[in-house]
Symmetry: C2
Subunit: 256 residues, 2 copies
């Protein structure tokens, strides 16, 4: 039932790991100077996970934080009946593992959806380094702050009461987090199954399927299996009743 943990050294790597990285602008070292960046890079261990494998397990010891380099992941817990509850999806540039900080052990499972690459950072050493590098300290706080906002978006999304509003909000957040521009929306790849999407939104898979079909019929999106294209962003925003602003904390706006 529970997938085996499989990790291996990721293909990304090297001394200037971060400075070459394509997600640098939205990642932890975004605004760091060369020296600070080098200090951080020295801590990073690239790791990779195949579809369905666990990066960490609920109740396992918390030793590392992770930055998503490529791919997508889900974090989940199971209740007493053994039913999976998906707590969040995680995309490149985002920080993962924060659920372990409070108690010293992880409070959920982190599982790779497709193949994904992450940067693993020893938490204790990161804290020590942050004391020497104020820029890094600020940046860590910013990244954590962004995770709060993502959780709050999730909460707001689940509160949207007509199910189609929930779905419309999800598509918006997905577009932002996978780096879509509002003007020229590219095809989004849904890394998760309909079941996972439904679980995330607290809906039935059949409902998700039906509502995706309806949005397509109304020419707001085009959807074909895992490919999703936003056709009419304006109407998508109208349906969702909320225009999510830009994601904070990417390099251009990361002055704080």
């Amino acid at each position: 039932m529970v997938p085996e943990r499989i990790s291996r050294i990721g293909s990304h790597g090297g001394a200037d790991l971060c400075r070459r990285c394509k997600v640098l602008p939205m990642c932890l070292p975004a605004t760091l100077g060369q020296a600070e960046c080098a200090g951080l890079t020295a801590l990073i261990e690239p790791v990779a996970y195949d579809s369905g494998t666990l990066v960490y397990r609920d109740r396992s010891a918390f030793d590392h934080l992770y930055l998503v380099h490529s791919g997508a992941l889900k974090s989940w817990t199971s209740n007493v009946n053994g039913e999976m509850q998906i707590l969040g999806f995680h995309f490149p540039g985002e920080m993962v593992g924060l659920d372990g900080i409070a108690s010293g052990s992880h409070q959920c499972n982190l599982e790779s959806l497709g193949h994904s690459e992450l940067c693993r950072i020893p938490y204790a050493r990161l804290g020590i380094l942050a004391r020497e590098l104020p820029g890094l300290q600020r940046r860590i706080a910013l990244m954590m702050g962004r995770e709060f906002l993502l959780d709050h978006e999730h909460i707001a999304m689940m509160s949207a009461r007509p199910a189609i509003e929930r779905l419309a909000l999800f598509i918006q957040t997905l577009a932002r987090r996978t780096g879509q521009t509002v003007k020229h929306p590219q095809a989004i790849v849904l890394e998760m199954t309909r079941w996972e999407l439904a679980n995330f939104l607290a809906l039935a898979t059949e409902t998700v399927s039906r509502l995706l079909a309806e949005l397509q019929k109304r020419k707001i999106i085009r959807v074909d299996r895992r490919r999703l294209q936003i056709v009419d962003m304006q109407r998508l925003i109208e349906i969702s009743g909320e225009d999510l602003g830009d994601l904070p904390c990417v390099s251009s706006s990361a002055a704080g």
Copy 2:
């Protein structure tokens, strides 16, 4: 519509502010030594807010973090239709204001439910102090980590599909966060209205009212206006389908 901001110097205060504080074991300085604690205390400004007043406003500048000393608060945003969406309730010992870290401006409103007292801490100076005091640095991370867990609990709660499960989970979390013991449950005071509770759980107020009545009829709780007494914790856990463990990060278990 939006309440005026009213703040005044809180009645709690003094040089050994924290060391006398009744919520110390679950608060930021819980495990700090005397010197560290003194450094932190020097930064703290006690403030108090009356029912319905705002501690901070959506989009206002982020300069301070807060620790709840007494009372209870809600954080909320409004969507394009002007409808309030409650993102969380906040109780003594908890850290508030984290929504401002990522962008440098708050992303929601923080409003006092009843009368409440908070400890206001300048964020920039806290960061500087944390660099000198590793114990404080760890403690800040722990407190933030706890807020992640609370958000995840909220998400899991909203995913519980029969509404009565959601309500049962809420009552459990409320009992924990207001310092109830499992063995001798005291009367809990619901600081929020039924409307606010319903909004938080993404339910209709009428549904909340009906389900509270049902839980009472089944002799699992006793409820009278804002007073709520848990009668049968075991069955409450059975209904909710989840036994929430102890809240991490209180002083006894805050070694990490």
